[in-house]
């Protein structure tokens, strides 16, 4: 299957999330998904990253689901498509 690119914002919304090596753990589970951090701002309490993921569609979807399951907020770079 063809590889896909996914650009997303990841938010580590608390100190306990910031202090865990969640991206590394994801990479161990999904070794064939590459990630490329294009922008990041991380403090003790909160971290936000713009990340490009690349890999087989199922693998990328699995990796993003894994990040969600660990408590990160995962949003498309085009976030808030729905406006009031």
């Amino acid at each position: 299957m063809a590889k896909v690119n996914k650009r997303v914002w990841l938010t580590f919304g608390s100190r306990s999330l910031v202090e865990k090596p969640i991206l590394w753990q994801m990479a161990r589970q999904y070794p064939d998904v590459s990630f490329d951090i294009r922008q990041a701002s991380v403090t003790a309490e909160i971290g936000i990253m713009a990340v490009l993921f690349e890999g087989e569609p199922d693998e990328v979807a699995g990796a993003l689901d894994y990040l969600k399951s660990r408590g990160l907020t995962v949003e498309p770079i085009e976030k808030n498509m729905i406006e009031s």
Binding site: G13, R38, I46, T73, P76, I77, E78, K79, S84
Partner: protein, 419 residues
């Protein structure tokens, strides 16, 4: 004549040509329109603006279009009212209401952003415009697209209230209900924006769209007699309007159209969805996402796209943020109606309630000029007040009955009338 000099990434500064792109390919930061302000000097003046049409296009030199305006020829130039009755109630010296509940044709501040986006869409050769929305934005896109003769695609979550759906449907867009939660709808829309060559106003046209919100600030300055209020209180949802009002003020100062009184800007949010106000009060730049729970649905965005830029503008100006509970929002809606004859929706109630808190806490001094930004119309959200108003008395058609009512004797016999 256009003063636009392309687009530029707000984060890394990379330049892009003027087209339907909105994020930087390198760092994924948002793109912003660049202008040649030096070329405007002496040409964009109070006189040149005053000589323009009585709509938001009087500021076209500061808006990102090249040809003639194609949409919004009757939008903008909404009332700026001196709120003397409210001044007395709040114990302040100089208070203004900038009233976009009267913005034509769909009664919210969104006319400003949509007018610019639709004009730009035509300029860039799109024949279809779209948005995903729960209310005001969809109403505005559908109406402006109908008038401009464009196809409109409006996507909504499947469980929206009827009033919100009809407010768009009447203009005959193609409307699609999407079965899923907020996240699902977001994801699908971003895929649609990627795949179809449509102008999604708040996505691929976002750099142009957001510029339209500056006109809210331009009008305040011009209507105050080429002066700025010292304090401006503005609602925050996705974070478009607040930084753009502030940018509008700074542009007028830069061009010498108004004196620099160091205007301060303040963010208002509902307590049930206050990620930006929470960050401002905690002294943080980054926004912690929230799950919204408030009656102020038009401003219930838990993880605002431009929240960071709201915090920046508020901090740079020396402003602050305040939030309001649902009960405070309804009280403020009623207060504004009873004192100033303006019926706003919960976004406006939130802004007035937050203003009151900022005054009472001493953040906004009572003797300096204050402008409250009213961005939407109460007729669209009757649900929030329907149980909060005393039903009218009902009497037989006789003068006698009326006299009894007036003297207070009949009040216990009156029947409530269904509203």
């Amino acid at each position: 004549m256009s003063y636009v000099r392309g687009l530029k990434c707000r984060e890394c500064g990379q330049a892009y040509p003027e087209k339907g792109v909105h994020v930087c390919e390198t760092c994924f930061g948002p793109l912003e329109v660049q202008y040649d302000y030096a070329a405007m000097r002496g040409k964009v003046t109070r006189e040149s603006i005053s000589a323009g049409p009585r709509n938001l296009w009087r500021y076209r030199d500061l808006l990102p279009i090249n040809g003639t305006p194609r949409s919004g020829l009757h939008s903008g130039m909404t009332p700026l009212k001196r709120a003397r009755n409210l001044e007395k109630v709040l114990g302040v010296r100089e208070l203004y209401i900038k009233d976009d509940s009267a913005n034509y044709p769909t009664w919210s501040y969104k006319e400003r952003v949509v007018s610019v986006a639709i004009t730009k869409a035509i300029e860039l050769g799109y024949d279809t415009v779209g948005c995903a929305s729960t209310g005001n934005l969809a109403n505005s896109v559908a109406a402006h697209a109908a008038e401009a003769g464009l196809r409109a695609f409006v996507m909504i979550p499947h469980d929206l209230e009827q009033g919100k759906v009809l407010g768009s449907l009447i203009f005959n867009p193609t409307m699609v209900r999407i079965e899923g939660n907020y996240d699902d709808v977001n994801r699908l829309c971003s895929e649609i924006a990627d795949k179809y060559r449509w102008a999604i106003v708040n996505v691929n046209l976002r750099p142009f769209y957001t510029e339209g919100a500056k006109t809210f600030g331009f009008e305040i300055a011009e209507q105050m007699g080429w002066k700025l209020p010292k304090h401006t209180v503005c609602p925050t949802a996705g974070g478009t309007i607040l930084p753009k009002i502030y940018k509008g003020y700074r542009e007028f100062i830069h061009l010498g159209l108004v004196e620099d009184n160091q205007p301060r800007i303040y963010s208002a949010q509902a307590a049930g969805c206050n990620p930006v106000v929470e960050a401002i009060q905690a002294g943080r730049d980054l926004i912690k996402p929230q799950k919204p729970k408030t009656i102020a649905k038009s401003i219930a965005i838990g993880n605002p796209a431009d929240g960071f830029y709201v915090v920046q503008a508020v901090k740079e100006s020396g402003g602050w943020g305040a939030d309001a509970t649902d009960a405070e929002i309804v009280d403020a809606i009623k207060l504004l109606a009873r004192t100033e004859g303006t019926w706003t929706e919960p976004a406006g109630g939130t802004t007035l309630a937050a203003t009151i808190k900022l005054i009472e806490s001493g953040r906004i001094p009572r003797d300096e000029s204050i402008c409250v930004c009213i961005t939407g119309n109460g007729l669209k959200t009757v649900e929030v007040v329907v149980d909060q108003l005393e039903p009218p008395a009902s009497i037989p058609p006789s003068l006698d009955a009326f006299d009894r009512l007036m003297s207070g004797r009949a009040t216990t016999e009156t029947l409530p009338v269904a509203v």
